[in-house]
Each structure stands twice: as structure tokens, then as C-alpha cells.
Subunit: 129 residues, 4 copies
DNA sequence: GTGGTCTAGACCACG
DNA sequence: GTGGTCTAGACCACT
């Protein structure tokens, strides 16, 4: 289930997109599955429908979701959603930011890697490159 | 040397603080070393001195730097400023955010770990737990 | 309510952070409470919004406040952010400075202690060690 | 002995005035005692003579020291160095600042008072009001 | 509407 | 020369 945490520093729309991406990556949502309606999800989460619509729009633009007119939104078939250059750019940025965030906390490298591995393992990921 | 990347989504001041933290963590800047002056660095980077001053102020407030009036800023002795609980909290947040960022990029877990390890290895890390 | 005293040697932003910290410590502001908006408080105090923003930014960085994008700033849950060693260091510094400030004023020790006690008593302090 | 600590956030001149005030308050320097010369102290401390001269000038202006032309500076006789209003103003400011510094560290009131009392006791203070 | 960021330019204390 | 503070005004992202 999606959860909105008010204390979370991430914008609400980001929390939604992150949550849905994780569910898709982890198999909780399979290609073809329908998503809750904008109004329904907004009501359920107690937030503004505009915020949900914005999150859905972003996911659609990135190829995660597919709109079928009059029917709603569905999880798209697996496909290359981003160009390799774009993937690599985002990947590099994420690693960079993560290292900057963690570098001052003085954890051992192995501790950091173990923790990342543990967190990643919650989401099945069969792609090998 | 510090580099400002205009395409970087991080604010300029954040890029500066990150860069300096990394230099300190990696030993490029040792305790007692002087930092470039606010005006000097601003001119070198082609940005407003206030932006540099803001970055320096944050690092000073966090205990990374120490001001000696009239003389300039210097790298402070490193000490553990945060409680274990706070360190853990921030660590968890960083890991969580990182996983959210990369989970959708379809990289293999090992690829991700290798990249993080490579990036971390640039910085000496003496702590073993 | 917050008051800005022009004769006060503390910078304006410092007066604001001090005042808010005291209100939080004394229970006048509880976790979850909203703070006056940057622009609103600036107008009310007759100062520049940037000055208020700076004070708020510092309190946020130190963990006293939490920003919810688009909604404003709120008092965060209190938690112990600093290590015991760091707390002790700052405590020692404060005591040292205080003694230096009052040692030349020729007040009796008991007079000084009574005054400090009176001032501290305005703020609930549940910790017993 | 006076000590200059480079890591101290206080300006050097402030460190000197504080140190001399403490010595006078604690009896290490008695009325009539001569002070080291500006140049001598500056050389001993490894700092700029201007800084020492400035510190001496402040102490003289506040009535702690007395200049005898051609002979040097001496500790002044005990006397009311400040108006009562000025004493009270500074006292209030010092208490206020101290409380603001300590309020966020979450120490018990008694702990704070004990520490202040202990620190004050290092300096004999017989005046009772 | 909210806070966050950056620029520009001024004034101060310190050495 | 150094950093620290404040003002003024602009633009952005978020709700």
C-alpha cells in the first residue's frame, strides 16, 4: 500500500511516484494491472487530487504507466523506458548524491554496501546489466 | 578542485558543501588547512560571494570548518557531532532515497553495488564499524 | 511573541532562532505546530524576509523545524541530535563564556545562580540528568 | 598564565581581556600589580602587538587597569567600574545569552546550576550583592 | 499562497 | 585583507 508520511521531506508527488515504481520493480504491480483512480487515491491518501494527477502524469511520461482512454491507467509492458545515456546520467547523479549524503556520517564502506544490498534485495531485479 | 556544474540539479551552495566535505573526508583537506577566501572562490567559480559564504556558513555550523576572525576559515578537527541515533536516521534516509532513485533504472544489483563501492573508495575511511 | 530588539548585540536572525528555540523548549510551540510564514513574520517584525528565511533555515538544519513543501514550516518532533560528547563540549563552552561575561560584574555567586535559575524555570525541562 | 587558543571562536583580544579579568577576579593579579608590556606580551603570545594594545585599551576604558605615563599599566584599585544600570544590562544580556545557548542541549536545570556554581567558585568573590 | 535559491550591493568587526 | 550580517529584488518548485 502507498503511504504518505507528513514528516517526509520528499514532496508528496515524489512519494507517490517512488512508491509506485517500487511496487512495479518488486512485482507488487504487474504489467496490465490497473491503478487506482486519481480521485480515489487522493481521497484514500487524504491529499489533493492535483498532486496524484501530477504523479501519474510523470509516471506516464516516463513510460511506467499507460493511459487507456475512458478506462484509466495501467502498468505498461516492460520496455526500455529511458535512453541509455539518460539512464546512465541519472544513475551517476544518484550515486553521487548518495555518496555525498553518507560521506560525512563516517560509516565503514562495507557497512554502507551491506545496507544498500539489503535494501535492494527487497525488490526482485533479474536484469543483469 | 571544486567544480560547479550548471546542469547539476543540486543548488550551487550544495555543490560547494558536498565538494568540500568530500575533500575533507578523502584527506585532500586536512585539519588546520586554510580554505580559499569567500571572495576568491566566488570569483574563481564565477558566482556570487554570498553563495560561497552561505556554503561556508553551513559547513561551519556543522562543525567541518572553523573561523578565525580576520584570518579566514580553516578545516576543523573532526569529531563525532551527531548522536548514534541521528547518524542512523540520516543513513537510513540516504539509503532509502538512493534505492528509490535507482530502483527504476533497471541496473543489476551487483552493478549498483560496484559503482557505489568504486565511488566510496576514493575516500579513505578509517572507521571499521 | 517574538520581539526584535535593535539594541541587542545579537544579530536579528539569531534573536529569532533563540526566541523560537525557547518557545519550543518551554512548550509554547509543540511538535506539529505551524510557524508564521517567512513573509508574514518579516512584515510583522519589520525586517527583510531573507533574514527570517535564514533563521528558519538554520532551525531546519538543526532539526528543530520541518518544511512541508508548499505548506510551510512546522515544529519537528524533538529528538537527540547531538552526541553526548558534542553536547558536553557545547555546554562547557557556554558555561565558560557565561562566567567570563559575569565574573567582572561583581555580583555575588548566589545572586548569579538565582537569576539563572529563575530564567531557566520559564522552560519546562523534563530531563533529569 | 594567559593562553591563546587558536581554535577558540572568541577574537584574540577578547581572550586576553577575559583572561586578565579572571586573574583579577581570582586574585592572581592584585591592585597595584604591573602588567606585562604590550610588546612583551605580544611576543610571548605570538600575536600582533596591536591586538594586545587593543585589549589593554578596553580594560583601561572599563576601569580595570590604570596607565601611569612612562611606567606602564597597573591593576586599578577596586572601585565601582560600571554604573549600576550598565552592570544590570550586561548581566541580563549574559544570562539571556547563556540560557539561549543551553536551552537546546536538554540538560536538567540542576545540572546547569551546579556546573555554573563550580566554575564560579574558581574565582573568589566576596561581594555579597 | 508556501519555502528555497541566487544575485547585487552595502556596512560592520577583526587583524 | 578576512568573514558576518542585512537589505532588496528576482525566479523556481510545490500545493
Amino acid at each position: 500500500m502507498l503511504q504518505i508520511v507528513t514528516g517526509d521531506p520528499r514532496p508528496i508527488a515524489r512519494q507517490i511516484t517512488d512508491g509506485i515504481k517500487r511496487q512495479i520493480a518488486g512485482g507488487g504491480l504487474a504489467p496490465g494491472d490497473a491503478l487506482p483512480s486519481v480521485r480515489g487515491l487522493a481521497q484514500q491518501l487524504g491529499i489533493n487530487p492535483n498532486t496524484v494527477a501530477k504523479a501519474y502524469a510523470e509516471l506516464t511520461a516516463e513510460g511506467w504507466l499507460l493511459a487507456r482512454s475512458g478506462l484509466g491507467l495501467f502498468v505498461a509492458e516492460q520496455r526500455q523506458r529511458l535512453s541509455d545515456a539518460e539512464r546512465e546520467r541519472r544513475f551517476g547523479e544518484a550515486v553521487d548524491r548518495f555518496v555525498s549524503d553518507v560521506i560525512g556520517l563516517d560509516y565503514a564502506q562495507q557497512t554502507i554496501l551491506d545496507r544498500v544490498a539489503a535494501e535492494l534485495s527487497h525488490y526482485a531485479n533479474k536484469k543483469t546489466a
